[in-house]
Structure formats: structure tokens, C-alpha cells
Point group: D3
Chain length 232, copies 6
């Protein structure tokens, strides 16, 4: 099975991180191939960047050769997920929706930690579009430096994340945390040691979900919402 | 006052229609300028086309010279409305949101008529994102020929529209109809003669709303969701 | 065009304030006429006062001579808005609904500041009836002296308002504020200088909305909810 | 115990009917006293009539001598229920809310049958304000002649009601019916023989609820929403 | 009239407490009979205990001799309420639903105080299943010692409860409190002296509700959800 | 990896069917072990049977030797899912929640087909508890003979199922179907040939989900809702 892990932004380092996370959880027979949205923005940190990413993403993925058995969209956002589902015949799994869907099995209410204050309303729209409001206790933001700068040192940053998780438990009743951004994913393992609630790292949720769809012969419904577009 | 009526698709004839509708309702001192999204798709009839439209729309509108006092987005959809609101300093009014907002003052529950069956879920997502579910009785679809073919003859088409409106009244309790697509707008006047409920033609809702924002010195909140993006 | 700005309470000074706010935003050809609900209560600060106001309001407005082209209800509440819409043939715009509808275009979630703690549930009911829950981050109350006493000095009061707005941003994620009471409207201009989020003063939202309806030939749907009552 | 059954409209015959229904279910020690809102409209069949009723209702009930131990509002609507709860120290039970509250214990989802098509949106607002949407399968309307004409003959009318109930079961999944208007109450007994689902006659729900509140020493919370109004 | 007050757990002392509370509010002609779920768990403090309780409860109550005129389920939870409603022909009233239904008449929004932090999500599910979300301001937890230990001294415990109620008013806008656990019921009288909002003790809500249903000849709808099970 | 497929009812034939479905989709290294709830009812077709099943299910599964790496609950219902999640340390996946979670990735709105009219409200409660209302277009029922009789002949039954699916598409806008009962699962393959929308067979959704959780080292959050019960 060949799964393409498509990074909606143009930053190769993030693609590599996601591919690493994907391979760490993929089944033995699964080949994970990274794909970077070179025409996209360096990071999806606004609605503007979301649309920049989406158009190039759809165009690029519709020309993939050889075609993938499944595509994982490895950014915590929208950036045209429905458009990709329309255009491709293969199953498409966005890591945000995979994480939220899996969370519904594991908790009472989850909190999503996102990467900047301005992404809170963006992420709330994502929760709302997916119909997960009743299961989402809230969205909280940490602060990350620009993508061009060095990632924060893990110790202090994991402490900050753990503090958010603890307060989301006390203040919002959240009993599970979703890391809402590919740039947060590398901290998942350390965060798990610092908190008692389950920590969902979305790439690790999306890849086995995509494998499952392939094994089951399932994909997005092509009747209605995700029917192939007339103009492609 | 200078209002740019931006058509998110590349079909000049639709721009002209929208500009005509806009001028018919604009205040005396308002200059209405049409803008066509030449890099966009010929019509926004899928999520794919939505993302095609959005990226080019944002890029084009951010380079407008001279800058507009307000921008009206003249397509009944999303196609990056939030991204345009981020990028522009001027007030931005999408015709779908203007029509739904105005409808809340005028009815118990509105029905939206859209242009094809596949646009029903697309439009339901739009209603949901705007938070208008409690006021939207439902979304219904008529059938339109492809944008490259001649528009349907008005008599039969208005009858079909009127029939949808009548059934939405009986079956859904809708007491107002929103024409959910720029291609439906030219039939508004005839439809008004055929039905008793108010008919909202969204360009005519959006232009005076944009004028109002300019007069009041208001625009989208630039604190949070629509703050200028870092990467533009 | 002749717009009647109807104050649902009997306090002439509030009518005058509202007329002033209305004229400041009205289009050149619009005549703004104030109307005071002399049989109403001095202020609508309870459900009791709401019903006191409503009955007299409907009776008075149904006898207006000459008839208005549109009626703006200049109190932030219900006080029989639907009843006025039933009784009048002209378009009726209540300032609360105009402000909330406009806010949906401009923000992620708005906060309403009301005039006393007891008006918080009253206002929450208004939000709920309008179906705006998904867009309203919350309702907060300031303290005002009785209507018979002098208005608070602007400096301190604007500081208090600004503090509410700031906390609504941090605690509720609100990125726009609606001044939820005619007695708060005079502070709008000063408040705008003290906060970064848009400040909606509802009279200024309702008057251009009413003008727009007249220009567009629109009014509340008279089929169903707002059909003329049999007993009038 | 002395319970006042207050008819919000001015039609004595309806008061008498309601008092009869009330006495039929009152406990042995309960005195039921009818009260007619002589300053109200003959029937509450619009928002206009609702506000006509409410102002007079509050005024009249606040002057009741001797004071009642509890007040039952015997009309299926709003007409200032919250205002009466503010003004009175005694517990106030509106028959619509008593019926909906009781229905939540007895069914999956209830249907309300109202007295005319135009009262459907009015009643939907009532359901929404009470927060009962998740339990209300829908509102359906029968046709009644004007209150000044003779009531319809019971046989045919009960058949029509039963047909509505049957269709609400099949089409909406409703497994209980609430008779949503005092004019429908007299048909409850016959309707029960014609349908298998429980039939809630709201006067019969409200009177024992009021008795219960008196026995338990409970009334509406006077802290907040229903605090005594300053101007009374 | 014979009402069985069925304690879903096996702790006789709690049955006795509930029977005492029931007799204190029962009408003169009502016989209150206690029933203890001897096969159930000592306390329902988890979903596990909920299912332990439910199976035995249904079995025991279906064999009651003589049959009751109505059954009150005297534990603040689910523990198979719908199953008991299916199996019995007599009306069944669970104290949690009786309290929430009654609260809708008396307040804007209620808070439920439950007996341990882990019962907060359990109780939130109960609120959600009943469709009371719009009226429930939140669920808060106090700490109780294990059921095998002595109950806390009333003075300090009532102070703790009163503090929760006060904070629920300030932080959540709650204007009524429901004591969400039979072990909290004995403190109701003292708590009433310490707070200004109404305090609902659920046994006292359920018993008169059950009496009312018997007097009115009503019970759960046996068409659909609560139809007798085929396998009993 | 060892996955126990636990049938909540006592009918061995259903267990065998589910084990067969599970093995058909399990990964190479996964051992699937069937477990029948011998103390449960022959089929879960009521709330009564749900509670009968749940208590025995929890007791049985807590004594499993050797412990499973994950447990799949192979019945489309509740029957104490949360209780099993509390009691077990291993991940627990109920097939209903697995199917609904997966459906959110694949469609606009799903329809659930259940096994009898009386299970419609039962299933609606399940949807509501999971917070999936916004994604569930509705629940429809087919008719099945009692579990003790022969299963219906596949041809006619698949036609009936396909007809339900087609009508759910037209009437409800559903673009995916979930087979809501283990007795429907054997028809999945044939149904797929008869309809164009994806058909989710819940055992096939749950088993790979359970495998995924084991591979990822995830399980239900043991902080809060699913913490181990004190009394077990």
C-alpha cells in the first residue's frame, strides 16, 4: 500500500517531520511517501495561507504519479480538504478530522491546542464544520516562533503545553488533548510523559485511518458533496 | 464612494450582470466598478472551484489600484471570504452572508435555492459556518445548464423557481427565499411577481450593506480572526 | 424617505439622543422623525417593562400619520417587535436585530454589553430567539444609575466599558462589541477610541438598514409569522 | 390553597372552560378561581394579540385581592409569562411550559398542535425560548373558526386532530401530543379515545404543577431574571 | 394511591432517607413504600455502577407485588430509566428528570451539584440525553466521603454547597440549583437558609409529579420508545 | 495482537457472524477471539435488553483471561459502553461509535438503518450522546423477523435496504449509510452492489480502529469519565 503524506505548506522540514511520524506508525506493508506543496505558503497560519495552500494542493495532488492508494493531508486545517476529496478517486484523510473522529471514542471532551492566538477562531470554524462542537471543550493557543526561526527548546515548551492541558482539564473539563498543528507534533512523545490525559498527534491518527480505508475498500462518498467536479 | 463588485469566477458576463444589479440599487454617489477573477474558474460549482477561485481572488484584490472603499464579493459561496477580509483593510461583504444576515430581519425561516444538487451540501456548510442554522429552513436546488450554454428561458425557469418556493413554504415552513447563486439573480424580478414571499437577490443585499459600512466607518474586526496575515 | 425612529420607552431625552444618532448616519434624502412611546414605561429594564412598552408601541405606531416609509425600533430589546412587524405594512427594523445581523459580517463572535445584571438573561433570550447563539460569545452587564438620575461621567464610564470589552476578548474570544441599550449609545464614539475591536452602536446599524429595505422594496415577510393580525 | 386560573384573553367562555378543566384535576383542598383578562384581546392569535394580552394581564394580576397561592396562566403562549413571574411573589405556571416540561418525562419527542397556520412560527419561538427543541418533533396546525363563531362539531374535529397526530407519528416520530391552545382543550378526552399516544391537555398539566410548587414552597427564582421590576 | 420510591442502589439508609423526604411532601392519601435495589451496587458513582443498578432494578420492579400506581426512581442518574419505563405499565418518574423538568419553569438556567468530580461527565450526559442543555448552566461537583463512612457534618458541608451555588451564579449565571445525588438531599433544608436561589431536592420534585400523573391518568408513551419489550 | 470481539447478546450465531466479519478485515498479525455475553439477552432490541446486556457484559469482560489487547463491542448500541471503558485498562471500541466516527470523514451526512421501528428512538439517543447530530441525516428502520427465526432471504431484503438508502438520499440528503445492527451486517456486501453510496458495516469499522489504538498505544482517557470505578 502506498500512502502519500501531503504537507499543505511548502516547508520541506515539516514534510520530513510528518513522514517520520507517519512511518513510525505505518503498518509493515505500507509505503509512506512525502509530498510537499511547493506552490503553497511556508506555513498555514491564516485564512489567506489556507487558500494559498488549497489551490496548489489540489492541483498538485491531482497530478500525482503513480496515484496513491490513499492521501493523508498533514496539516491541521481545512486548506481545501473537500476539494481534494472531490478531485481524487483515492481515499483522502485530513489529519484534523482523523484526530477529532478518533477522539470521540476516547474521551468525554477534547481540547485542541493550536499554534497562535489568531488560529483559535480558524480552528473553531474547523470544529464547527465537522460538527464536533458537542465533543470539543475548547481551543487553546500556545505561542510558536515564526517557522523560519528555530523551534523552541523542548523542555520549556513541553512544560507550557502541559500547563495548557492541565488548565483545559480544570477550566473546560477536557480529558484528552489534540495537538492542532504539524509544528506541535514533534512534542507529542514528551508531552505524554508530562500529562495524564491521552495526547493525540494527528499524523499518527490519520495514517492508520487511511490504511484502514484502503483495507476496507472505502473512500469518501462520491455521490453528492465529493462528486468529481465538472471543471478540473 | 467606490465599491468594487468582485466576481469570484472568470466569466465576464456574470460580472456584468452583477454590476448591473449593483448599479440598480447603489446610492447616487456610489461608483460601482466590476472586477472579474480572470485567474479563477468559469463558475464556482464545487469545492475545487471554490479553492481555485479563492487564491486568485485574494491575490487580485490585494493589488487593486486605486483601493476600493468597500469590496462586495459577488458569488454565493465561501471562496476565501475570510482570507479577503484578512488581506484587505477596506470592508468586505460577501453576498451570501449579506443576504442571510438581512433575511434574519425579515422572516421566520428562509430557504436558499442553489444552482445544482451538488451545491446543496456546499451551501449547507456555508449556512453552518455562518451560524444561521436556526433561521435556515433548508436548501433546495434547481437545475441550470452549464455556464457555457444559454441561460434557460425565463418563463419556464421562473415557474420552476416559484414551485420550489411554494414547496419550501409548505414542506419547510420557509417564508422568504434567497437566490443562492449569481446565475439566479437575473430572475429575481420575475420571481417576485410569481410568489408572495420576499425574494432576496444577494447582490442587491450586499451593495447597500457595503455602503452602510463605509458610511458608518465600520469594517471587519482586525483583532483576531481577520487580522492581517503575516505572509501575504 | 421618511423614517420614524420609535423609542419604546417614554423618556423624551432618550428619543432625542436616538434621533441625533440616527440623523448623524442617515442618507441625505432621509427624513428622520422621532416618536416617543408616551404610554410606555420610562425605561425597558425588565420583562414587565417590555410588555408595558410593547402594547402601547403597537397601538401608537399603527396610528402614525403620515405613515412612515420604515420604522426603526430604538431600544435594545424585544418589546413586541414581531407584533409591530405584523401590524405595519412598512418595513420594521429593531435596533437589536440590526446590530446582531450586521455583526455576523464583521467578526468571529460578538459580545453584547447590557445595562444591568438583570438584563443579561433578558438579552440572552433575545439572542436565542434571533438564532444568533453561535455568533454571540456572551452578554456582559455594566451598571447604570436609574434613568431619572444623571448619566455617569463619560471618562470613568468609558473606562469601565473598555474594561468589559477587553475581558470579553480574553475570556470569551469576542472580537466585536454591541452596545446593548440606548442609554449606552452616546458613549460609542469615546469607546471606539479606547478599544481596538469594532463597536456597534445599534441605532447607527438600524437606520441605514431601514433605508436599504426601502430602497430595495423589501419588508418583513407578510406570509406567515408577520401576516396582518385579524384583530388589530 | 387558592389557585387563580388566569385566562390571558377576554373571552369569558374560555375562562369557564379552563376553570372546568382545572377543577376536574385539582386536589380536594384546592380552590380554583377563574380570572379573565378583560382588557386583553378576545383570543391570542398573533404576536400583536400576545402583547395586547400581556400588558393587561400583568396589571390585572398584580392587583389581585386576595393574593393567590399560585397563578396558572391558561393560554398556550407567551403573553408576558416572564413579566408575570417578575411582578408576582407567588409561583406562576404557564400552561405551555407546564405541558412541555411534563412531556419530557413521558415521551421521546412531542408534537404540538396549534390553532392556525400562523401560530406555527409563534409556537416554534415558544419551544425555542424554553429550550425544548431537542424534544419537540414539530408543530402542526389545525383550522379553527373565529372565536366568535361556534366551535366545530366534536366528531369531525377529533377525527382531524387524530389524523394530525397519526401523521406526526409517522412523519416526525412524535410519540406524544400537546394540545397547543385553550380552544383545543375541550377535545382532549375524545381525542384520547382516538389515538394511542398520550394527549397532554395543558390546563390539566399546569394546575397540579402549581399545587406542587405551593406544597413544596417553591416559586420562580427571584434572583436575576424574575427579580421584582423596579418600575411596577 | 401507592407510590413506590425505588432506590437504585443497595444502601438501605439511602432508601430510608428518600422515603422520609417523599413522605414529607406526599399528599394525604398517598402511601409511600420504599424499595431497595438489593442486587444493585451500594452507590451509583460510575457508569459501571449505573449498569449494575439498572439490570437489577428492572428485574426487581417488574416483579413488584402489589403493583404500584407509580414508581419514583430515587437516584440522580440514568441506571436504566428508559428500561423501567418500557417494562412497567405504571408511570415511572426518575428524580433527575423530574427536577430538571420542574427547573425549566422556575429559572433562567440551573446548575446541578453532583457528588464527585467523576460524576460531572456522567451528569452532563444525562442533561444532554434529556435535551436540557440550553437550560443547564453547568454541572459542579462537591466531595463526599465514601458511602460507607459517616456523612460530613452539616455545617461545613452546607457552607461548601452554598459556596458552589454562589460561584455558579457569578460564573455561570445560574439562578437555581438542583442537588444531583440522593446523598445531597438531606442538606436541602439547611442549604435553603444559606442561599437566595431556589434549591431543588429531586425526591421532593418526583413524588408530587408521580402523584400528578396518576391523578391525570398519564404515563410514559407506550407507542415507540417505551413500548413493552418483547423479551422481558 | 489479540482482539476480543464481544457480542453483547447471548446468540452464538451472531458472535460467529461478527468474528467472521472481523477476521475478514483484521491485519495479518491480529488474533480475533469471539466472546458471547451468555448472561445477556438473545438480542438487544430494547432499553430493557440494553441493561440486561450491559451488566453481564461488564462482569464478563472484566474477568477475561488472558486479557485482550483491545475489545470490540459488536452490537450497534450502548449496553454499557462507558462502563466497559471504565472497567478495562485495554482500549474499548464500540462498533456504533467506530462507524459514526469513521463516517464523519467520508460523507456530508449519514443515515443509520436500524432493525425495527422501536429502535429508532434508541438509536437517536445514541447519536445524540455521541454528539453526532450535525452529521446524522436521520435513522430509518427495516423490519427483521425475531432472532429465533430464519434470516430473511438476501435478495428481497437487500432490495428493501437499497430502497431505504435511496429514499434517505432523496428525502434526507444522506450520502452514506451505516448498518445499525449486527444482524444487518451480513447484507453489507450485497448492499454495496445495489447502491452508490458507501456502506459502513460497523464490525469492519471497529476492528481496524481497535488495531490502530493498540499500535498507537492509545486507549480511552482514564482521567475523568472513564476512570476505574471504585466499586468493581
Amino acid at each position: 500500500m502506498r500512502i502519500v503524506v501531503a504537507n499543505p505548506n511548502s516547508t520541506e522540514a515539516i514534510t520530513e517531520t510528518c513522514v517520520g511520524l507517519a512511518r513510525a506508525v505505518a503498518a509493515p506493508g505500507t509505503g509512506v511517501v512525502g509530498w510537499t506543496n511547493r506552490e503553497g505558503p511556508p506555513v498555514v497560519d491564516s485564512f489567506h495561507a489556507d487558500y494559498l495552500a488549497g489551490r496548489a494542493l489540489v492541483a498538485g495532488l491531482s497530478r500525482l504519479e503513480p496515484a496513491a492508494d490513499a492521501v493523508v493531508l498533514a496539516g491541521f486545517g481545512n486548506y481545501g480538504t473537500a476539494a481534494v476529496k472531490e478531485v481524487l478517486e483515492a481515499p483522502v484523510v485530513a489529519m484534523a478530522e482523523a484526530a477529532m473522529a478518533l477522539a470521540t471514542l476516547l474521551c468525554h471532551r477534547f481540547v485542541i491546542v493550536t499554534t497562535s492566538a489568531r488560529m483559535v477562531p480558524y480552528t473553531e470554524d474547523l470544529v464547527r464544520l465537522g460538527g464536533f462542537e458537542a465533543r470539543c471543550a475548547g481551543v487553546r493557543a500556545v505561542s510558536l516562533p515564526p517557522v523560519t526561526e528555530a523551534a523552541p527548546p523542548p523542555e520549556a515548551f513541553v512544560l507550557a503545553l502541559a500547563d495548557h492541558v492541565a488548565r483545559a482539564g480544570t477550566e473546560l473539563g477536557a480529558d484528552l488533548v489534540i495537538l492542532g498543528g504539524a509544528r506541535l507534533s514533534p512534542y507529542a512523545a514528551d508531552l505524554r510523559r508530562a500529562v495524564r490525559v491521552p495526547v493525540l498527534e494527528p499524523v499518527a491518527c490519520a495514517v492508520p485511518t487511511a490504511e484502514m480505508l484502503v483495507r476496507l475498500g472505502l473512500r469518501q462518498s462520491k455521490v453528492g458533496k465529493f462528486a468529481p467536479p465538472l471543471v478540473s
